[in-house]
């Protein structure tokens, strides 16, 4: 058999469920050493990529093989974990790949930068495998605290410093909210294991403590995923951070919040929905409202942005709104679609950020007006950017369209019955149409408007490689979504028992 996880189990024995993370951690530990030994960014990058590749290889082997195992009741590797880990690995891979040639990332502390990157990724992967509130919390914090530093690690840029401050304060605030919520949840359920919580709650009636737990957890995770009104930090941090880091935050870090949301809420509610005592629907409405507001605010405010990073940040907020549909609909199909959308989001939003980073590296500004005439100066980059943006807007046959198609359709029908979330689907599609407006502004600047400068642009090779990969995936996932959608469906089946 081509995909055989026995190699992993042979090496890691009972730690196999943590195999991808272990590889990353080791990588994180050796990275500074590598840097100090070689003093060359490229060497570090090569090791980085190797580490991530190995980790990814293990994960793919396990995922495709359908490996399932549990470690100490705290971690569980299953299809869901496999898919999400893959996502985080891809994000880390891109970040590592481009940060080597980006002009924004630190040069002096490059080893530390990579170590932190790996640590952050590991944190995210922990969340994906976690089966206990404690591990979820720790994973999130590992990812968060390291990313604060990543944001700050931009060469003496006042905006990065400011962004880092904002990020750390808001991260702390969200940690506090989340922790408070977790404590209440613990109090209500009397345990920290998610499965056990679900079982415990399914026999309980609604209580105030539970309500508060829900609210504070929504707020805390809402911060992570940048849902309105907990989104305010996102545009500033995205703008201030080095663009590869922005990409890491926008496509990876954000998903951590979703993974935690899925892990905690879906499991609890799916278990709870079997008993009538528990009010699932009310919280679904809460999520639906948040989703609607988030996508609307994200899209509408994006229209007025002139800085492309900020615009993409707001667009990320809107995308989070779309994915929140999963939480409103709470069906297996919706979850699969949502996960698939996260994947396509990595490629399209990641691709867009990569291009922004590449252009900053070659000295083009972040303003939309700086992109004027880009089609002449860098035809491929302009073309790729157009693809990413149109994909984000949901223009077929690109990946963003297909994933939105799955996602929005999940809001309409659930198992042959028309759901009550049709209005949400409406809000979503109309938003999607609005978003076309600001994406088109960029396209217009690149293709239609004439720039002051007409000389050709040559962007670093690593950027090109990453962008090409994204382009390929944006097209392939659009045309053949089942490549990943099948795994997402398996993963969703795990959470829905």
């Amino acid at each position: 058999m081509m995909f055989d996880s026995s190699i992993v189990t042979t090496i890691f024995a009972e730690f196999s469920p943590l195999a991808p993370m272990i590889v990353m951690i080791i990588g994180a530990l050796v990275m500074p050493a590598v840097f100090f030994a070689t003093k060359r960014k490229s060497a570090v990058a090569a090791v980085m990529i190797a580490v991530i590749a190995i980790s990814m290889l293990f994960n793919v082997l396990m995922m495709v093989d359908g490996y399932q195992a549990d470690y100490a009741g705290l971690f569980a590797y299953d299809a869901f974990a496999g898919v999400m880990i893959l996502l985080f690995q891809i994000v880390a891979f891109f970040t590592a790949l481009v940060s080597v040639s980006s002009s924004e990332t630190t040069r002096m502390h490059y080893g530390a930068f990579n170590a932190l990157l790996l640590a952050a990724t590991t944190g995210m992967m922990f969340v994906a495998t976690a089966s206990d509130l404690i591990t979820i919390f720790l994973g999130i914090e590992l990812a968060s605290i390291t990313s604060y530093v990543l944001v700050a690690m931009k060469r003496s840029d006042p905006r990065a410093a400011e962004a880092a401050v904002k990020y750390v304060i808001f991260g702390g605030l969200s940690t506090a909210l989340t922790l408070y919520g977790l404590s209440m949840l613990y109090g209500v359920a009397g345990t920290t294991n998610i499965e056990d919580i679900a079982i415990a709650l399914s026999t309980q009636d609604f209580s105030w403590a539970f309500g508060i737990a829900m609210i504070t957890m929504i707020a805390g995770f809402g911060f992570k995923i940048a849902a309105v009104p907990f989104h305010a930090w996102a545009p500033d941090v995205y703008e201030g951070a080095a663009t590869p880091v922005t990409m890491f935050l926008g496509t990876g870090s954000k998903k951590v919040g979703f993974v935690a949301l899925f892990k905690i809420f879906l499991v609890i509610f799916v278990a709870a929905s079997s008993t009538a005592a528990f009010a699932t629907e009310e919280l679904q409405y809460i999520f639906a409202i948040i989703a609607a507001i988030t996508m609307t605010v994200g899209n509408v405010v994006a229209i007025s942005q002139n800085n492309i990073k900020r615009m993409l940040a707001y667009s990320s907020i809107a995308q989070a709104g779309y994915i929140l549909i999963v939480m409103a609909v709470m069906s297996e199909y919706a979850l699969a679609s949502g996960m698939f959308h996260m994947f396509t989001h990595v490629f399209m939003k990641g691709g867009a950020f990569l291009i922004v980073g590449a252009l900053i590296t070659v000295g083009i500004g972040e303003k939309i007006s700086d992109y004027q005439g880009l089609a002449k100066r860098a035809p491929f980059i302009a073309f790729a950017m157009t693809l990413f943006l149109f994909s984000l807007a949901g223009i077929p046959p690109l990946a963003g369209f297909t994933s939105k198609l799955f996602l929005f359709s999940s809001a309409i029908y659930d198992g042959g019955v028309m759901t009550q979330w049709v209005w949400l689907a409406f809000v979503a599609v109309l938003n999607s149409a609005i978003s076309l407006y600001y994406y088109t502004r960029v396209v217009k600047a690149m293709y239609i408007e004439k720039g002051a400068n007409a000389e050709r642009i040559k962007i670093p090779k690593t950027f090109t490689a990453a962008i090409v990969t994204c382009v390929v995936f944006v097209i392939i996932l659009g045309l053949f979504p089942q490549l990943i959608m099948d795994f997402c469906a398996d993963a969703a089946a795990v959470l829905f028992g």
Binding site: L133, I134, F137, L138, E141, S144, I145, Y148, V149, A152, S156, D157, P158, R159, A161, E162, A163, A164, V165, K166, V168, I169, G171, G172, L173, T175, A176, L177, L179, Y180, L182, S183, M184, Y186, G187, G190, T191, T192, A209, P235, D236, E239, G240, S304, Q305
Partner: protein, 100 residues
Amino acid sequence: MIPIEVYLIFAAVLFAIGAYGVVVKNNTIVVLMCIELMLNAANINFIVFSAFTTDVLGQVFVIMSISVAAAEVAVGIAILLNAYKIKGTIEADGLASMRW
């Protein structure tokens, strides 16, 4: 025996004080301290629930979260230092160049 509600209300008040501080304080160091207050409110919750249910996991959680909070404050202070070095201020009002 003091009923559990009292502890919970205490923690909630602590949490609210922290939240209030985050909103009104201009000095970001104080803001970080307020966040610590909020974290500690959650920690108290954990301890209380742990004590009342005689479940040890809550205390484990607290130990974890205290260490996390420590790390967070360390990173936070470092970041504030960096900001002070670059921007010459750590006041929230002075760190508002990116907006709209």
